[in-house]
Every structure is written in structure tokens, then in C-alpha cells.
């Protein structure tokens, strides 16, 4: 780590502004703004045809044309989502002007301004985790950050493993886009957390609707997008260094980012970033959760060039994780599981340690992304994106005869993806994207485990075509419609239970349609609605699982005859301000009909030498999910406000007329927030006292679980954050306390609730220093 710091510091020194020289010395500067609401339009192109000069606005819409002679100039201003405008400017002294463009996407979704993909979520309910919110989650996993969004919950396996759940769906029904590339990291496993470093991005978007048209298979429940980073386009260095200390687990994390451009090479930008986390055993209120330590490291580097017509960007990231799995969750058979549930305490508790023993997991994920864009005409752009991912996963179990050091599961997954998209206008209003995408994936079981593989080796290839068009109607309404067709080939290589080599093949072809509308009723009230279909070919684990699942002491059997899941999800989203801006509210209501919903269902018992095990088979049924997410914030006066975030989900099995297993319980978070813009030399003071109440899940299917759902629980948290502006940057400090009363509880969505309580009281202290150009 020492070398890395020295490396960053070396870059801090030669930072100097660029000065314009020459006979003509006038400066024309200005901002490109949205005509309707004056939001800045990032990266708009400003062209002076007389001089054959062009400049690109920064991410705040600012541009500067130095070294001009007095005279009259034409300014042509173009932005990705706007009709270009021309304006004549008389220049006899330095001038600052404002240029207005009619921006379609911005008028619909201010959240999407300054996006490369400003038109992707029309009609879809979505939420964003910006840099500030991410900072508040520093030292936490991606899932923990996402779980602040109403409608997003966390499906966990003890304190170290958490997967995002959107509107009651998880695993292969949630698509994760890492820098815009479909993340392929064995996400079928409930104890396989996403292998990516959230700080490799500045912004995470959660789409809470079906989005197969935009993103392809698996986006049934929703999409988690770590947005591609926006590289700087001019000279100047900026960066950030962040550190967080975490009491529960006695560890912490660090993150550092540096970005800049190159003098004299306009449009070129680069960025490097690295982060790490280190945690020992977590504490539950009454005991230590032994073997729940974690080490994580990530690094990424990207460079890009942005020209008038062409742009290109390359990105590489590396992510590594080693984590302990609660040792008391290792059980031998159903008797052990029943004993664990009956005793109410973990069978293994040892003094605190930060070392990790079996059972444990190690993961390494490498991602290479290359993107090239070519502006075919003023409005049409062709974008090619290629992604390569390599995911290596080892799972270590408690084994006899000195085999604990040999992984019981050793998988290597390699994926190539390619997309070619034409962003186009048809006429002046109708615009959208049409494209093709393909992927090639190989899964290998690395030999030497001495255990029959849980999932077989396979090759999967898929190809698809899609079109998605937007039509602005007037200034306040935008319509969206799209379609995708995709075919997937799956070729499996496996040995059956009689050790005969089999190579079954499957082909799945699917289509998805979407239609949406976004209506800005007035400046402070927006309605979005969409109805979209989505699909998911069965995962190889659902087709060919065969064997004992240690974490739950069940024998899981796949069914090779399963077909694709198909979903039709409708969402209605309302967001607005009332009472002269004092009340902010956002409501999402949805219904999701899933045909051929695949899940595990008990099918008797198998007697083995280790005792009896329940047998679970993958079966398909038809499901219906619906629910609502609500956010309300009421400003009591200039400093105090009240905030509520609540969500409910209901899931029914339509065939058996029973509840679905593992649906989130109703939850509500209520907070009292105190904000002060200034406090002495400090800025943006925010104090949040939050109460989180999770109800008991009473809507459960009979006979699918080993223990009744745990009771309701209530947690109290306190957060304080403030900013200190400095000469060349700013210092940001935050303190976050969770579960302040050290309440012992278990959560229904924690798969280790059979074995131990969840984490107890926790306190995080974080410090961040940002420097360079503000954004």
C-alpha cells in the first residue's frame, strides 16, 4: 500500500493552469443549459465554424474559448439528446454567455442529466446512489449501499455475504451491469455476493422494473448499474482519498482515486482508483460471530479520448476477495440443523480473530472493457462495446483428513460480450437506439477438488437484436417503446451419477417488449409508468444441480426439462413536491406476473451415511408479485425535517395458491434529519436519527422452511456528516452508528438466521479528502 500512496502524491505536485497566448486575447466563456429548468448540459459541443474551432463543455456545462480576436462569430451548440442550435455572438471584450438547448431527456428525468445514456429509463422506476450516498456507505458492500433504496433489500448469509434483492427477486433475476457490462460471476449462488468494488464507479443506478429490452436476459426483477465513469476531458488533476474505521469487526477500509487530463491533448482523460477493506470477526450482542472476517481489494484504471466525431475508452478492473463464512453455519445433517435452531446459539464461538479459516471463499474478478463511439452524423452515433470478464471462485469447507486447504468448489468462468448500438434520430423528435449484442461464456470446474462438481462445465452463447425508441410529445410527455429478440445456446459437459459422460444441449429463444411513458405534470410533479416483459433462461444450476448443499443441509436436484422464466411487470411511479416544496414524495407501485417461476421445493428425504437429508427439487410454477415503495420527506422548518422510507412486497404462487418463500417482510424507516448549511468553518452539517422497523414475515408457504420466521425488530441509528472546504479541496467527515442499542435480532432474509444472531452495535468513522476540480 505504501507504494501506492507515494505514487498518488507524486501526481499532486505539477498541477498548473493552462494559459492562453497569442495576439488575440479575448475570452468567450459560458454555460450550456437546459431551456426548461436551467440544469447544465454536460459535455455539449460548441463549434465556431468560422475558426474551425470546437470546444466541449465540462460536466457542469461550462465552456471557454480563449484567444479570440474581436469580431462576430457563429456558435453551433450540439448535445447528444438535443436539437442543435445556432447563435451569433458579437465579441469586442471578454464575454460570458448562456446558451439554451431544448433537452428531451432532462425535462423528463433530471436525474439522468449528464448521462451517456440519458434516455434509458423512461417510464421505469429507478433510484440513484450518488457519490454522497456512496460515501455514507464507505466500508460497506455494494448490497448494503443499495439496501438504502426503498424496494431494495439484502439477501444475506451471515455478516459477510449479501446479495441485492429488488422487489422480492434476487440472484439470476437481478442483472448487475459493471461499467455497463453484464456482470457474470456465478450469481446463481445465494452465498455468492457480487464480485465488484462499488467505488470503481461514481454512481450506481437501480432500475426497479423489468428491463430485458434494454439489457437482455435476467433483468426480470430489476437492474443494478454501476455507471461507467465519466473521464475528465481537459487538463487538471483531481482526486479523492478516503478512509473508514469500523468498530464492529475492528477493521476498516480505504479508497483513493486520481483523475486528470493531459496538457495539450484536448479530450484525453484518465483515471486510476484503488480500494480495500479489512475486517475481523463481527460481534453479535451476546457472542462473537466466529470466522466472519473479510479482506477485499480492488483496483481500476481507465483512459479515454473524446474527439469531435470519435471517442474511445478502455477500462480495466481487478477485484479480489477472501472471506470467512460463519463457522457455526457448517452443519453435518438435518439433526445438526435442528439442534442449531433449538439451541438458539451458534455451536462454535471462539475469541475474536481477524484470521480466516474454513469454511471460506476466495473470488477474483477481472474486467476489461473497451468502447469506441463514432458520430455518424450530427445526431447519430454508433457505439461499440466489448467486455471480457474472468471470474475465479474457490470455496473451502471444513473437511476431514487435512483437505480443508483444498477447495471443495473451484470454478472458472470466462465471458466475452460485445454490443453494437446505433443511437439515432428519425426526424427531429423520434430518437432511440437499435443494436445487436452477443456473448460467449465458458464455465470450467478446475480439477483437484475431490468433490463432484455442484454445477457442470458448460459453454453458453447468446445473440440478440433490439430496438428502443423514444418520442417526445410536446414538452411534458415522452413515450418509449422497444423490443428485443435473443437466442441462447447452452452446451453442458458432465458426468451423470453413473459416471457416464453426457453432453446435453439446450436452446432457449425469447423476446421482450416494453412500453413506457413519462409525464411531467408540472415542474414539481412527474409521473412515470411502464409495462415491460422480461425473460430468463434457466441457469445451469437449476438444470443440473446434483448434490448436497452444505449451508442448508439439503440435497438439491436440478431438472433439465425446465424452460425459460417469463415475466410481465407493470410499474407506476409518482414523484413530486407539494406544500410549496416542503413535502417531497415518491411512490412506486408495481405488479409482476412471472410464468414458469423456478424455485426449490421439498421432495421427501434421502437417507445417507451422514443421516437424513431433505431433498429439494427445482420446480416451476406461476407467480404473482406486487408491492409498493414509498419515500416521504417533510421539511418542518429551515433545519429540521422528517423522512420516511417504507416498502411492502407480496408474492403468491398462483398454481398452489400459497405465499412464495423468502419474500421481504414489510419495513419502514423513519428519520429525523437536522441540516445546517454552515457551522463556523464547516459546511453541510447533517444529523440523522433513524429508526428502522422490520415486521415479522407472516406470509410464508407451509413446509418449505426449517424454522418459523424470526420476530419483528427495531433498530436505531445515528449519522452525522459535515464538510470542511479547504483551499484546494474539501474535507468530508462522517460518523455513523447502527443498531445503537445493541439489539439481538435475526432477519428473515438472512440465510444464517438458523445459526446465529445478526451483527450488534456498530460505529463507523469516515474521513474523505477531495481535491482538484469540483464536480
Amino acid at each position: 500500500m505504501g507504494h501506492r500512496w507515494a505514487f498518488f502524491l507524486a501526481f499532486l505536485l505539477p498541477c498548473r493552469a493552462l494559459l492562453a497566448q497569442g495576439g488575440c486575447t479575448l475570452v468567450l466563456q459560458g454555460r450550456v443549459l437546459d431551456e426548461h429548468d436551467r440544469t447544465p448540459l454536460a459535455f455539449a459541443d460548441v463549434v465556431v465554424p468560422e475558426l474551425h474551432r470546437s470546444v466541449q463543455a465540462d460536466d457542469q456545462g461550462r465552456f471557454s474559448l480563449p484567444g479570440l480576436c474581436p469580431g462576430t462569430y457563429t456558435l453551433k451548440v450540439a448535445h447528444l439528446d438535443c436539437t442543435p442550435v445556432e447563435r451569433t455572438v458579437q465579441l469586442d471584450k471578454d464575454r460570458t454567455i448562456e446558451l439554451f438547448l431544448e433537452h428531451h431527456a432532462a425535462e423528463l428525468q433530471e436525474i439522468e442529466v449528464a448521462r451517456k445514456r440519458p434516455d434509458e429509463h423512461v417510464g421505469q422506476a429507478h433510484a440513484e446512489i450518488d457519490r454522497e450516498a456512496m460515501e455514507a456507505g464507505a466500508g460497506r458492500s455494494l448490497t448494503e449501499m443499495l439496501a438504502r433504496v426503498p424496494g431494495v433489500t439484502s439477501l444475506s448469509s451471515g455478516p459477510t455475504i449479501a446479495k441485492p434483492m429488488i422487489h422480492g427477486l434476487y440472484g439470476n433475476r437481478i442483472l448487475t451491469l459493471n461499467q455497463g457490462i453484464r456482470q457474470e460471476d456465478q450469481q446463481w449462488g445465494n452465498e455468492h455476493a457480487p464480485s465488484l468494488d462499488p467505488f470503481s464507479s461514481d454512481r450506481i443506478t437501480v432500475v426497479k422494473g423489468a428491463a430485458s429490452v434494454q439489457y437482455g436476459a435476467d433483468a426480470i426483477g430489476g437492474v443494478v448499474i454501476t455507471e461507467p465513469v465519466e473521464l475528465p476531458r481537459g487538463p487538471g488533476l483531481s482526486g479523492e482519498v478516503r478512509g473508514v474505521g469500523i468498530l464492529n469487526g475492528r477493521g476498516g477500509g480505504t479508497n483513493a482515486m486520481l483523475q486528470g487530463g493531459v496538457k495539450g491533448l484536448t479530450g484525453f482523460g484518465w483515471r486510476v482508483q484503488g480500494s480495500g477493506r479489512y475486517l475481523g470477526d463481527s460481534f453479535a450482542p451476546h457472542y462473537i460471530l466466529s470466522n466472519t472476517g473479510l479482506r477485499e481489494a480492488g483496483a481500476s484504471a481507465s483512459a479515454g479520448w473524446h474527439g469531435r466525431r470519435m471517442s474511445a475508452q478502455v477500462y480495466y478492473s481487478w477485484f479480489g476477495r477472501k472471506m470467512g463464512i460463519l463457522k457455526a453455519s457448517h452443519i453435518g445433517n438435518l439433526t445438526d440443523l435442528r439442534n442449531a435452531i433449538a439451541s438458539g446459539r451458534p455451536w462454535y464461538v471462539a475469541p475474536f480473530t481477524d484470521s480466516i479459516g474454513p469454511p471460506s471463499q476466495t473470488v477474483r474478478h477481472d474486467l476489461v472493457r473497451a468502447e469506441a463511439a463514432y458520430r455518424v452524423s450530427d445526431l447519430d452515433q454508433l457505439v461499440f462495446t466489448y467486455g471480457y470478464q474472468a471470474n475465479s471462485r474457490q470455496e473451502y469447507d471444513l473437511r476431514r483428513g487435512g483437505r480443508s486447504g483444498t477447495p471443495a468448489l473451484d470454478l472458472f468462468l470466462r465471458t466475452h460480450t460485445g454490443d453494437l448500438v446505433l443511437k439515432h434520430f428519425i426526424g427531429t423528435k423520434l430518437h432511440g437506439r437499435v443494436g445487436v449484442s452477443g456473448s460467449h461464456q465458458e464455465n470450467y470446474n478446475v480439477p483437484g477438488t475431490g468433490v463432484r462438481p455442484l454445477i457442470p462445465d458448460y459453454t453458453e452463447e447468446s445473440g440478440g437484436v433490439f430496438v428502443l425508441e423514444h418520442l417526445p410529445v410536446g414538452k411534458r410527455l415522452e413515450l418509449e417503446a422497444g423490443a428485443r429478440y435473443e437466442a441462447t445456446d447452452l452446451r453442458v459437459r458432465r458426468f451423470d451419477d453413473a459416471n457416464i459422460y453426457r453432453t446435453p444441449e439446450h436452446r432457449f429463444s425469447n423476446h421482450a417488449l416494453t412500453a413506457g411513458a413519462s409525464w411531467t405534470v408540472r415542474d414539481s410533479l412527474q409521473l412515470r409508468t411502464s409495462i415491460a416483459s422480461a425473460y430468463r433462461p434457466p441457469n445451469v444450476s437449476e438444470l443440473y444441480s446434483e448434490g448436497l448443499h452444505h449451508g442448508t443441509a439439503t440435497i438439491e436436484l436440478g431438472d433439465p426439462t425446465l424452460g425459460s422464466e417469463r415475466s410481465l411487470k407493470g410499474t407506476f411511479d409518482l414523484e413530486g413536491q407539494w406544500l410549496h416544496g416542503r413535502l417531497y414524495g415518491a411512490l412506486t407501485v408495481y405488479g409482476d406476473r412471472i410464468d414458469h417461476y423456478i424455485y426449490l421445493r421439498p421432495d421427501g428425504y434421502a437417507l445417507t451415511i451422514r443421516g437424513a437429508f431433505p431433498v429439494f427439487r427445482y420446480v416451476a410454477t406461476d407467480a404473482w408479485l406486487h408491492g409498493a415503495d414509498l419515500t416521504l420527506e417533510y421539511r418542518l422548518n429551515g433545519t429540521w425535517s422528517l423522512r420516511d422510507r417504507s416498502s411492502i412486497v407480496r408474492g403468491r404462487d398462483r398454481v398452489r395458491d400459497e405465499w412464495l418463500f423468502l419474500m421481504p417482510a414489510d419495513r419502514t424507516e423513519n428519520a429525523l434529519v437536522y441540516r445546517r448549511p454552515t457551522l463556523g468553518a464547516w459546511r453541510q452539517l447533517e444529523v440523522t436519527l433513524a429508526s428502522t422497523y422490520i415486521l415479522e414475515q407472516t406470509r410464508i408457504p407451509i413446509g418449505l422452511d426449517f424454522a418459523p420466521p424470526p420476530g419483528a425488530y427495531h433498530l436505531v441509528g445515528l449519522g452525522v456528516s459535515l464538510v470542511r472546504p479547504l483551499k484546494h479541496g474539501e474535507l468530508r467527515i462522517g460518523l455513523q452508528g447502527n443498531n445503537l442499542f445493541n439489539t439481538a435480532y435475526r432477519d428473515y432474509l438472512d440465510r444464517f438466521r438458523y445459526y446465529a444472531d445478526a451483527r450488534g452495535a456498530d460505529l463507523d468513522l469516515r474521513v474523505a479528502y477531495r481535491f482538484g476540480k469540483k464536480d
Binding site: L420, G463, F495, A606
Partner: protein
């Protein structure tokens, strides 16, 4: 706008994307995995300390978890007899057959067998000790009294708390740990 040109470009790219796949070499055929940790057979051999015949109890499940159900056989023990019993664990799914009880003995401080008798007049007493002097249960002294029928549940615990109350005497209640093996034999004393 020249839609034809664009369509052509897209088509070209589509064939490039799909064409790439063909270049990949045919993936290697995986090798079958011989499970090296599976237990297929538990055999307890009862040697009469007098002059009676040798009795055998056996649980056998050669195809491992799932598949064909296991076979369980248990010879009738004689009344008022004293046996010296030894337990053998085998993995018969590999060749040569692997004697897994050696591994248990190699890690004797981490393992302990428990014999839970229900209904039958049989008593098991540990006749071995691990490196710390705690029982392991690979060998036991078995005594019988009056004619009776019932069951004997044999359990192997991994990482039990061998110092917990009653554990050294064979009481599983406080043992903890995780179960490596659990087999129930029908027991007849006649």
C-alpha cells in the same frame, strides 16, 4: 439518413460478434471426479470375549448420497455377552477401497463417536483414547443383558467439545460440533 448503410454496418458487426465464437478451441472434456471424502460403509465388528461367534453390523451405500437406498444389516447379539467392538469406515466408491477410519484416527482429538441406545439392553463403553486422553470411540467394550429389541444410533461428530459435561462418558447432549456421520441400526439382543 442512409438507413441502408447503417443496416449494413450492423449486419457486419453482428457477423463479427457471432463469428468470434467459432474461433474458440473446442473445450477440453472434463475428467470424472472421484470423490475422496465420501463415506460409503460403516462396519462394526463385535468379537465375543468368551467363545461366541463374531457379529457384524453394517451400513452400506456404495453409490453415495441419493441414488439407490443404503442397505443396513445388523446381526443379533447374544444375551449377557461381552464383546470387543471395533468400528471401520470405508470409502468403497474408489479403488482401492479407502479406509476412512484411519483419517479419523489421525485427527483423533477432533472426532468422537457416540452410541445412543434406545430400547435394547446394550451398553457401549469407550475403549480407546485420543492424544489428550479423551475417548474417540473407534473401539468400544459392549455388554448385553436380557433379551430386548431397539435401536442404536451411531454418530460421528467433527470438532466436538470433548471437555463438556458427560461427553467423555458418551453423552452427546453437550458435544456440539458438526455431524460427519449418523447411522441408526436395528438392535436385537437374544
Amino acid at each position: 439518413m442512409n438507413a441502408m448503410k447503417t443496416a449494413l454496418l450492423l449486419l457486419l458487426a453482428a457477423s463479427a460478434i457471432t463469428g468470434c465464437k467459432k474461433d474458440d478451441e473446442t473445450p477440453a472434456t472434463p475428467a470424472p471426479v472421484n470423490e475422496n471424502e465420501v463415506l460409503t460403509t460403516l462396519r462394526i465388528t463385535f468379537v465375543d470375549q468368551g467363545s461366541g461367534p463374531v457379529k457384524v453390523w453394517e451400513f452400506r451405500d456404495v453409490d453415495g448420497d441419493g441414488g439407490a437406498p443404503p442397505t443396513i444389516t445388523a446381526d443379533t447379539l447374544l444375551t449377557n455377552a461381552a464383546y470387543h467392538a471395533s468400528l471401520l469406515l470405508l470409502n468403497e466408491s474408489v479403488s482401492p477401497v479407502d479406509t476412512a477410519s484411519h483419517e479419523v484416527w489421525d485427527e483423533n482429538t477432533l472426532h468422537q463417536f457416540f452410541y445412543q441406545v434406545n430400547g435394547a439392553n446394550i451398553a457401549f463403553t469407550y475403549a480407546d483414547a485420543d492424544d489428550n486422553g479423551h475417548p474417540v470411540g473407534l473401539t468400544t467394550d459392549v455388554s448385553t443383558t436380557d433379551p430386548s429389541t431397539g435401536t442404536v444410533k451411531v454418530t460421528l461428530r467433527h470438532e466436538p467439545d470433548k471437555g463438556a459435561p458427560g461427553v467423555a462418558a458418551g453423552n452427546i447432549t453437550n458435544a456440539g460440533g458438526s455431524t460427519d456421520l449418523e447411522v441408526t441400526f436395528p438392535a436385537v439382543v437374544h
